[in-house]
Subunit: 245 residues, 2 copies
């Protein structure tokens, strides 16, 4: 039996203020739950059906699991189609790690939609891009919609919140590109074996102060009439090209 | 001043049952509103702020515009950030047109998420792919979330609801491809100048009965650890390749 307090605790984590207060976030869905429970991430609490617990073997302390019914999961869930497990995990400490400069990294400048952010992290993981820098204004990685859209890739792709202008000032990268409307054709221009690829805000694109510091503006040439591509789709096309270098 | 009846009419169009009953759909947002009001699509009703009407010139009968306040738009809107105009337009008649066989077309098999569907239509428009076949189980093009995600591209890309198995049986296409997990590497395999590219359901992929009728299974090779790509992202990468043929 879950308590009202437990329900309001889980619901509160949809809000960044409470994620920061409790230093916790919610990961929902069977696949994501299995992945995080078998990772080395710190787990706070798990709500899962008996069926889910019996079917899966976990690395972590099973005493943290509360067995709940399907209808209790529905009360806890923030998905329109609730699944069998909701994990409350600890937000990992923000150590700024040594940067990996051997491969391409992404830098996301003020991406606002949590679904776009999650989808980009999932795409980076697919193409073996292990490092994504996030400007300080980006949507939150630990927003439940972001976590959901990553399909578990948040466990593998390193996300680093950082002032992008300062990062560019450090001048560490072999090539610094940004996706813009009138740049070089990415399908034909020379792309280095490693570097930093900046993708901008859904409406406004890459900030002017960052564009002043790049080596190569790139564009995904189309031949139709749409005004722009969704940033998650653009990221997919760009990652398919840079990851092949 | 808008009436309760007007509000409940607009809200009802989020539901396919009422879209079919009234033969109408909702297009929200300034950019989409301007595009549809300047197109030759039949307009039923427009709710817009005075500011929006003064700033824009439209091709159609202005008597159909109800001037509303920002707070009235909020009551009508289904977006989290309402804009200045909500258009109720007629769903066009479903004439099955002559197919364009000179270029690549997409076929979407049971795509469930309206956002994914809209994003794929927007991507097709960007790459000049003018024809998208939808299986009869696909999400609805006229769902407000789909319309929103197309960013207006639903006005330019022809969508045709059709039994995909029957379409394949007609054997019209130079090459019939499907995106699968273990196919030929799309970056290196021979792609014809025209054909049909089938993209499958978010969870289950392309249906077995369709896979039996294709010429070429293709895969977007990754080198990371994600289990799959979002179908909208996959569509973007695939369209960037087939549209270059």
């Amino acid at each position: 039996m879950i308590s009202k307090n437990q329900i309001s605790f889980v619901h509160s984590l949809a809000d960044k203020k409470f994620r920061l207060k409790y230093n916790c976030f919610v990961a929902e869905g069977n696949k994501i739950a299995v992945e995080i429970l078998n990772s080395n991430w710190a787990i706070e609490q798990v709500f899962a059906t008996n069926d889910f617990v019996e079917k899966n073997i976990f690395k972590f302390d099973k005493n943290k699991i509360t067995i709940v019914s399907k209808s209790e999961i529905e009360r806890l869930s923030q998905l329109s189609t609730p699944t069998d497990a909701i994990v409350v995990a600890k937000i990992p400490p923000k150590n700024i790690p040594d940067f990996n400069l051997q491969n391409w990294s992404l830098a996301l400048d003020n991406i606002q939609d949590p679904g776009n952010l999650g989808s980009i992290i999932r795409t980076a993981d697919w193409f073996g891009i292990s490092q994504v820098f996030l400007s300080l204004e980006c949507a939150d990685v630990f927003n439940p919609k972001t976590i959901q859209a990553t399909m578990g890739s948040f466990l593998r792709v390193k996300t680093i919140s950082i002032d992008l202008e300062e990062l560019l000032n450090q001048n560490k990268f072999a090539q610094i590109c940004a996706a813009v409307m009138n740049g070089q054709n990415i399908f034909t221009t020379k792309i280095e074996k490693s570097g930093l690829m900046i993708l901008g805000n859904e409406g406004k694109g890459v900030s002017k102060n960052l564009l002043e510091k790049i080596n190569l503006p790139i564009t995904i040439l189309g031949k139709g009439n749409a005004e722009s591509l969704n940033v998650g789709v653009a990221a997919g096309i760009i990652c398919s090209i840079i990851s092949a270098k």
